[in-house]
């Protein structure tokens, strides 16, 4: 069963004078444990789509099902609960909580969202720090580590709750290419180890090749779906 099913998903923004179509009639499925990328130029609708997959925004038409839930039907509180339970986020600007240490940033969703017991929290944090290669940096504050390290922490934070899906909007945009490859490599490794589906958006052509499934967006339309080993036109 597909983890994500989009059927006729559209998103339009209306002003008094003009209607802007951010996404038009998207149809796609994403299987569990996939490593997926949405690519396209600026304004193609990547971020809008990721926001909808992340229950941060709702489609104006069509149905979008994530982990068996029709996300458009969720209210604010239910959306927050759904995100906390099923989703992880990696942001372009890392979005660390500056007053918390690396360990505490990773711990944050376990306390504030999932209410995990202290002992289990410690175990999970330790495991995640180890997995992202930050085991010796747990006590540092975000301003004391590099951009690449921050993104590693963000990956750990996104995965520590064992989500079904991790959404990463331009996760490498603020990183040099070497670090960008390392971050994508880490995401892939975590997918392999944990079976979590990763969806990231990018317009970086070098990074695109790392995705196993590639959706190309042009002007809000799904122009192409590329699966490693074969391409289909949407």
């Amino acid at each position: 069963m597909a983890l994500i099913t989009a059927s006729g998903v559209s998103k339009e923004y209306r002003t008094e004078e003009v209607t802007v179509y951010a996404l038009r009639e998207l149809h796609f499925d994403i299987e569990p444990a996939s490593f997926v990328s949405f690519v396209g130029p600026s304004g193609s609708g990547k971020t809008t789509l990721l926001n909808m997959l992340g229950c941060l925004d709702k489609p104006t038409a069509g149905t979008l099902t994530v982990a068996g839930t029709e996300v458009a039907a969720l209210n604010r509180k239910e959306s927050a609960a759904f995100r906390g339970k099923h989703l992880g986020f990696i942001f372009q600007d890392f979005n660390m909580i500056p007053v918390l240490t690396v360990s505490e940033n990773i711990e944050y969703p376990l306390i504030m969202v999932q209410n995990v017991a202290p002992r289990e929290r410690r175990e999970r944090i330790s495991r995640m720090l180890e997995a992202v290669g930050m085991a010796d940096q747990g006590g540092k504050y975000p301003h004391q580590i590099s951009g690449g390290q921050k993104q590693r922490v963000a990956i750990a934070r996104a995965l520590v709750t064992n989500p079904a899906l991790v959404l990463a909007d331009e996760p490498t945009a603020n990183l040099d290419s070497q670090t960008a490859y390392a971050v994508i490599g880490l995401m892939k490794k975590m997918r392999d180890e944990m079976g979590t589906t990763f969806i990231f958006s990018t317009h970086d052509t070098k990074i695109v090749g790392e995705a196993e499934v590639l959706f190309r967006l042009v002007d809000g339309r799904l122009a192409e779906k590329e699966v490693k080993g074969g391409t289909t036109h949407a």
Binding site: N51, G54, L56, D57, R76, K77, A80, A81, F82, R83, G84, K85, L87, F89, F91, D93, N95, I97, P98, V99, L100, Y108, P109, I111, M112, V113, R157
Partner: protein
């Protein structure tokens, strides 16, 4: 909750300068209020103590109509002996009454054989009077703080004007109830420091001598000064006494023949005391305004500066209630910090005031020592107000933060 506190405190430390400035403002407000409340409260208590313990007693009983004409010291409105005996029994059996003193008040001519002037006198039973107004003896600035038959305590201003010293003979001449005049010689036993308020410039003679001057066959009583065991229970004792007098006391035309007045009814200082209370209230309102505006300002800024952060934690799945709590706790912590620092510094300032020993004059009373006392109740009330207002001030920004759409917040630059 512990983690919410941790985040709140770290966020306050994060904006150290702003937090310190705001907390300092609250601290200054709390110090100001505590010092003001403490000093004004102590001044009020001291003055009430002076008034009640050196001349008035806590409450007084008079025959109906006497207080209205008290300036004339009317002899025809005295309590008759049988009336006094009845009240005496009632007061003696009342457990809340610590002491009471009958007074026979009259006006007369006062002469040192060279000069003559007017005087207002209280005929008292010295033992009962000193028990009822224990600070009276402290007002004797020259001579003996005792009063025997044939002796008189003369108010200081009169003694000064007539150049009287203890041991000097004087004559008091008074008009009696029947209109005749009588005189009696006294020896000055002591000079009384004048006190502010009604009765503060009266002289004292023995009640037996007063009755003799006034040619009374039996001692009549103009007023009964009463001291109660617990001053804070004055309203309850007043109510009960009034009830008892109405039910069991002497009657006049079907109504109680006696009136009960508290010191508040009789002393003009009560209005000053009320003004002090009103000023204290205004000072508290000012503190509330300071805390409300400063915390609200800081919290609005905090929310505005951390919009993206709010977006991040909301996107991660933090429930709106927890986001709200996070900001409310920041305001709470700032309130607690400001109140705690204010209480500490306020207590130190009050201790310093007591160490320096501020003396002041009140009317004729000179060099009264102000002993500022920090009432634990005031301390708790002021702290509670600060913390409650801090939380209240954080509510609006906190609610705003919790209602932010994560997608909009994340887009914020």
């Amino acid at each position: 909750m512990r983690n919410l506190f941790k985040i709140a405190i770290r966020n306050l430390i994060r904006y150290q300068r702003r937090t310190l400035l705001t907390a300092s403002l609250i601290t200054i407000g709390v110090v100001f209020v505590l010092v003001f409340v403490s000093i004004s409260g102590s001044f009020k208590s001291l003055m009430i103590g002076q008034i009640t313990d050196s001349m008035m007693g806590h409450l007084q009983l008079h025959r109906k109509g006497y207080v209205a004409s008290i300036d004339n010291l009317p002899l025809n409105l005295n309590m008759k002996p049988e009336t006094y005996r009845k009240i005496e029994e009632m007061l003696a059996s009342d457990q809340d009454v610590a002491a009471f003193s009958p007074r026979l008040k009259f006006g007369g001519m006062f002469s040192n054989f060279i000069e003559t002037t007017n005087i207002r006198l209280n005929g008292i039973d010295p033992e009962a009077e000193f028990r009822t107004v224990p600070l009276l003896s402290a007002r004797v600035i020259e001579g003996r703080p005792t009063l025997g038959r044939g002796e008189i305590l003369v108010p200081a201003l009169l003694a000064k004007g007539m150049k009287l010293r203890p041991g000097d003979p004087v004559v008091v001449v008074a008009t009696n109830a029947d209109g005749s005049v009588n005189g009696m010689q006294f020896i000055v036993s002591g000079i009384l420091e004048s006190a502010t308020g009604p009765g503060g410039r009266d002289g004292y003679v023995h009640i037996g001598d007063a009755a003799e001057v006034l040619r009374m066959t039996e001692v009549e009583v103009s007023e009964i000064a009463v001291r109660i065991e617990d001053f804070s229970g004055l309203p309850e004792v007043m109510t009960r006494l009034r009830q008892n007098i109405r039910d069991d006391g002497p009657q006049q035309k079907g109504q109680a023949a006696l009136e009960v007045h508290s010191w508040e009814d009789l002393s003009p200082f009560f209005n000053i005391a009320r003004m002090i209370d009103v000023m204290t209230l205004f000072i508290r309102v000012m503190l509330i305004a300071i805390v409300l505006i400063s915390i609200m300002n800081v919290m609005v800024m905090a929310v505005y500066e951390r919009i993206r952060e709010i977006g991040t934690i909301a996107a991660i799945g933090t429930p709106p209630g927890k986001i709200r709590s996070m900001f409310i706790l920041e305001g709470f912590c700032m309130g607690v910090f400001g109140a705690a620092a204010g209480v500490g510094i306020g207590a130190a300032v009050i201790a310093l005031v007591n160490l320096i020993g501020i003396r002041f004059n009140f009317g004729q009373q000179k060099g009264l020592l102000l002993k500022a006392v920090l009432d634990p109740l005031d301390l708790m009330v002021v702290s509670a107000i600060v913390v409650a207002v801090a939380v209240l001030a954080s509510l609006q920004p906190a609610v705003k933060a919790s209602r932010m759409e994560p997608i909009d917040a994340l887009r914020h630059v």
